[in-house]
């Protein structure tokens, strides 16, 4: 099941004035189209276009700032509905899930009826369109769901599969990208059926072990069953990244953004009750090239300043920047449950108590109500166009002046 133009559809549902209109979902600062509504797509707007370019195709385009939290929560609601039909619900991405409906449906005809019911419920309860593909394997179901958008309902029954594979170009299959397609085309392989008929040794010679998978893909076979929702793994890492509103070489700006990201990672670690000991830092330059490095620490950490200390040391190893920087990101992995007994006393305990007090205040009055002074650099650089909310009314004057300095 694939939600159609998911983020744009959610915004159109939340704000009825946007319904039936060309809408582009953008981030703050950068004016790049992250995704857009079908009305905008009809006029040639595409993901990745600058807003300027999108406006040339569609002067009436309405830019909307995306709200990822809203989309994640909506995805959870969709998954809850799916779980009413089967426990075998595998989340493929924020807007795609696989359901194994073999047990509740039994026959392809029943599957079609059940999928239609699911589609109607999502439309009725959440107001969102989706396309559903029904097939004997996950890769074929994905292919079927891509056939009709929006509101598609496509069944590939066993007897149809051969003809589907015969007329489907290889690049339509999920997982076959531009490079693989070009290599396959150079070998004279253009359709999935041709790929399925190709000698596996030829594919292995050109693609290594992936050749075996490609051969199966060409025959519509997917050996991985749909996993149960309850099998979804626990959190392995917590990370945040930020694309700057404009490229920069200024180290103080990059450091200030990094501190903000580290604070966010710390807040999430504490929320999940986790501690971690591996910090990864990554950087993307203006030409989209990038570098990353990670460091394992002697002890577990969970506060923004501790994460920042490790990430900044890694960042220093990339200095001076060889090119202007477009994006930085930080991730903490090597996670364990925080049993809360690591640092009962001393400086570390003080830092942790301070971080928890900050969490309590910020959760009550908005993210970064109390924040490091370095965030002023972020706000100045972005002209305020960053998710650092304005001061909350009702606090005593000068409250923010006592914000911690790191």
């Amino acid at each position: 099941m694939d939600m159609n133009a998911f983020f744009a559809s959610v915004e159109q549902q939340a704000n009825p004035a946007l319904r039936g209109k060309p809408v582009a979902i953008c981030g703050r600062g950068r004016t790049v189209v992250a995704t857009c509504s079908y009305e905008a797509r009809k006029q040639g707007v595409r993901t990745g276009m600058s807003l300027y370019e999108a406006r040339r195709h569609c002067p009436q385009i309405i830019p909307v700032r995306g709200n990822h939290i809203k989309y994640v929560d909506t995805a959870r609601k969709i998954q809850s509905i799916c779980l009413e039909y089967t426990p075998l619900v595998e989340v493929f991405s924020i807007d795609e899930v696989f359901l194994d409906i073999t047990a509740p449906a039994g026959t392809p005809k029943d599957g079609l009826r059940l999928a239609g019911e699911l589609q109607l419920r999502i439309k009725k309860e959440l107001g969102l369109p989706c396309s559903i593909g029904i097939a004997p394997s996950k890769i074929l179901a994905k292919l079927a769901s891509d056939r009709e958008k929006p509101d598609g309902l496509v069944l590939f029954a066993e007897e149809d599969i051969e003809s589907v594979l015969e007329c489907t170009p290889v690049e339509d299959m999920c997982g076959i990208g531009e490079n693989t397609k070009n290599c396959l085309n150079a070998l004279g392989i253009r359709t999935l059926a041709q790929l399925g008929r190709t000698d596996v040794s030829l594919l292995v010679r050109h693609f290594g072990f992936l050749g075996n998978i490609l051969k199966k893909t060409g025959r519509g076979m997917d050996m991985n069953p749909v996993s149960a929702y309850s099998d979804a793994g626990e959190i392995k890492s917590v990370g945040h990244s930020n694309t700057f509103p404009r490229d920069t070489r200024a180290a103080d700006v990059v450091r200030a953004f990094l501190l903000m990201l580290c604070e966010r990672v710390g807040v999430r670690l504490r929320k999940y009750g986790m501690i971690g000991r591996t910090v990864s830092f990554y950087i993307r330059y203006c030409d989209f090239s990038g570098e990353s490095r990670q460091k394992s620490l002697p002890e577990y950490i969970k506060t923004g300043p501790d994460i920042y200390a490790a990430a900044a040391r890694i960042m220093d190893s990339f200095m001076p920047f060889k090119k202007a920087v477009r994006l930085v990101g930080v991730t903490v992995s090597g996670l364990e449950k925080d049993k809360g007994q690591l640092h009962l006393f001393g400086d570390r305990a003080r830092k942790e108590r301070f971080a928890e007090a900050m969490d309590r205040i910020n959760s009550r009055h908005g993210e970064f109500m109390i924040r490091p002074l370095a965030f002023e650099v972020v706000e100045k650089f972005t002209g305020g166009a960053i998710d650092v909310p304005a001061r909350v009314h009702g606090f005593p004057a000068g409250f923010n002046a006592s914000a911690p300095r790191y």
Binding site: Q13, A14, V64, I69, T74, R270, R364, P389, V392
Partner: protein
């Protein structure tokens, strides 16, 4: 109803009148800058757990403009997060 090109972040505490319907909390009016806004429709709702505790968020319409309200389930406080002006 306004479109999102007129979004303004507010992030201010507000007084809200709400009712419980079918095990759910539904805002009916709010007072902001001494003016009372009667809500005609809740167009969307979602849960935000990113701020450290659970906030119930609502997109609401007063017949002229869209607003985003949030309720902290931990502190029982309401905030006006955003206004989408016509």
């Amino acid at each position: 109803m306004g479109n999102n090109s007129g979004i303004t972040d507010i992030n201010e505490p507000v007084k809200v009148g709400a009712v419980f319907e079918n095990s759910r909390i539904r805002p009916k009016w709010f007072v902001w800058k001494k003016k009372k806004y009667i809500l005609r429709k809740i167009t969307y709702d979602w849960v935000d757990s990113s701020r450290g505790d659970k906030h119930l968020c609502f997109s609401v319409w007063d017949g002229r403009n869209m607003y985003e309200l949030s309720y902290s389930t931990r502190f029982f406080t309401w905030m006006l997060d955003r206004v989408h002006l016509e």
